[in-house]
Amino acid sequence: MTSFAELALFLVVLSDFAVLATSRLSACIRAIAFQGILLGALPLLIHLDISGHLVVLAVGTAVIKAGVLPWFLRWAIREAAVRREVEPLIGYMASVILGAAALAIAFAVANALPLRMVGTDLLVPVALVTVMIGLVVLITRSKAVTQVVGYLMLENGIFLFGLTQSERVPFLVEIGVLLDVFVGVFIMGIVVFHINREFDSISAARLTELHD
């Protein structure tokens, strides 16, 4: 099962890079939905003793991260009539290079962290790189929708990090985190919708302007 877990973790990294390199919002959302499915499958692949707790966690993650949130983001795009391009503040090429640097840093740092490894030792570096690339997306994209995608990636990284400890983290905490994210993204989506209605644009740069 470890090799399947490693394969899933590689695909998580590749979907990170897909979000960095793509110029289309819908492709971004597809990549993040795919990442959600992988994250749902990972608890089952890493922890060999499958319990009810794990199954609920896996199914809940997959449904929320791969089903509800992407659907909601698509709804926000449609309702806000966003032009379907990402509009990064730095080029896609520079984004990919930043991502590659993040990859190198993550693997260098992960070895130095004094952590108890569960399952596979790829988990911590992949979690770190997902957090860092999420941060890059969050910073370098001007559209509110892509910033939500960046926030989701950041949260996915934290979820991956949590997987190293999830044998001990209580069930309620996990569900609470999932709920937090769900509510957070929901509010962001509504905010995006309202920003668009007020400003006729969802570019975050325009939020500095005063508006009546």
Partner: protein, 313 residues
């Protein structure tokens, strides 16, 4: 290198020289089947080469000896590069530490000669094609070096014979380097499409002046010169398919062929496999807009870099 091994190496080189022209044929045949057209036969390139070899060469009065030298240099450098690659998956004919750099350099020399010839014609269109081709190649090369470096780290030896031959297979299977070998294979495939001027970087079947890259460079060549250029292109595809085959065999963790015939059969199978994959890619993917090509190449290089980070970890 024992005598029987070197015999297999030379046989593999002969097989490459004879069978490589089927790769573009298989690619266009796959494309024809997938898009529901009649298409040209698999041996079309042989017929083209035969036809071109019998024709005379038309030379512009503006061109100098550089123009006539370029196809010869291109073909010669490609064959030298073939001698450096372990085509049978065990040993190459010529091997030394760092021959991976020589491999890239020799291929680069051929491209340099061809772009000089393009500039020699004095045509602005050919100059544009040469500029594009060299730009893409210079972006693809770093990724190729990262891929070679990954293989070198896995094999603890920086010669192509060790990287693609026995050592990589042995170390890759036991050392858990499988995932990074898969990354390297994906990266080499992506970059070889650029190196060999195929979709999504260039389209060999287009003859629209605005979009041609490699084709425009060889526009003024005719007769046997053009035959040499086309033949060298097919050989290059064959080289990359042999490299890919070896990386994939190493990734699967299987041992190397102990029996020479199996190695030759695998080489021919890799030609067919490369042709089919190129055909599939060309049927399902549109050619990238030119500003997008660097991003594609950076993505391909990032895959190789991921592989390198995985083995260095």
């Amino acid at each position: 290198m024992t005598d029987s091994q070197s015999g297999v190496s030379f046989t593999a080189l002969a097989v490459l020289l004879i069978a490589a022209p089927i790769i573009p044929g298989v690619a266009s045949r796959t494309k024809a089947i997938l898009t529901g057209r009649q298409g040209s036969p698999v041996w079309q390139l042989y017929a083209d080469l035969w036809k071109l070899a019998q024709r005379g060469t038309v030379l512009s009065t503006r061109t100098t000896w550089i123009f006539q030298l370029a196809p010869v240099v291109l073909l010669a450098t490609t064959i030298v590069a073939a001698a450096l690659v372990p085509l049978d998956g065990r040993v190459s004919i010529v091997r030394f530490a760092g021959d991976a750099v020589a491999f890239a350099g020799v291929l680069g020399l051929g491209r340099f000669a061809l772009s000089l010839a393009a500039l020699d014609t004095g045509s602005s269109l050919e100059g544009m094609g040469a500029s594009r081709e060299v730009t893409f190649a210079s972006l693809a090369e770093p990724g190729l070096f990262v891929a070679f470096a990954t293989l070198g780290v896995i094999a603890h030896d920086f010669s192509l014979s060790a990287m693609l031959g026995d050592a990589a297979g042995r170390v890759g299977a036991s050392g858990g380097a499988g995932p990074s070998l898969v990354m390297v294979a994906l990266s080499v495939f992506a970059l070889s499409l650029a190196e060999c001027s195929r979709v999504p970087v260039d389209d060999p079947s287009t003859h629209l002046e605005l979009t041609m890259v490699h084709e425009v460079m060889v526009l003024d060549h005719s007769g046997p010169d053009l035959a040499m250029i086309l033949y060298a292109g097919a050989l290059k595809l064959g080289l990359f398919s042999a490299i890919l085959m070896n990386v994939l065999v190493a990734a699967s963790g299987q041992g190397k062929w102990s029996f020479g015939g199996a190695a030759i059969a695998a080489l021919v199978a890799s030609f067919v496999g490369m042709g089919v994959s190129i055909g599939v890619v060309e049927s399902i993917v549109a050619r990238l807009r030119q500003p997008k090509v660097p991003l594609y190449l950076a993505g391909g290089s990032a895959l190789a870099l991921f592989g390198l980070i995985l083995v260095l970890r």
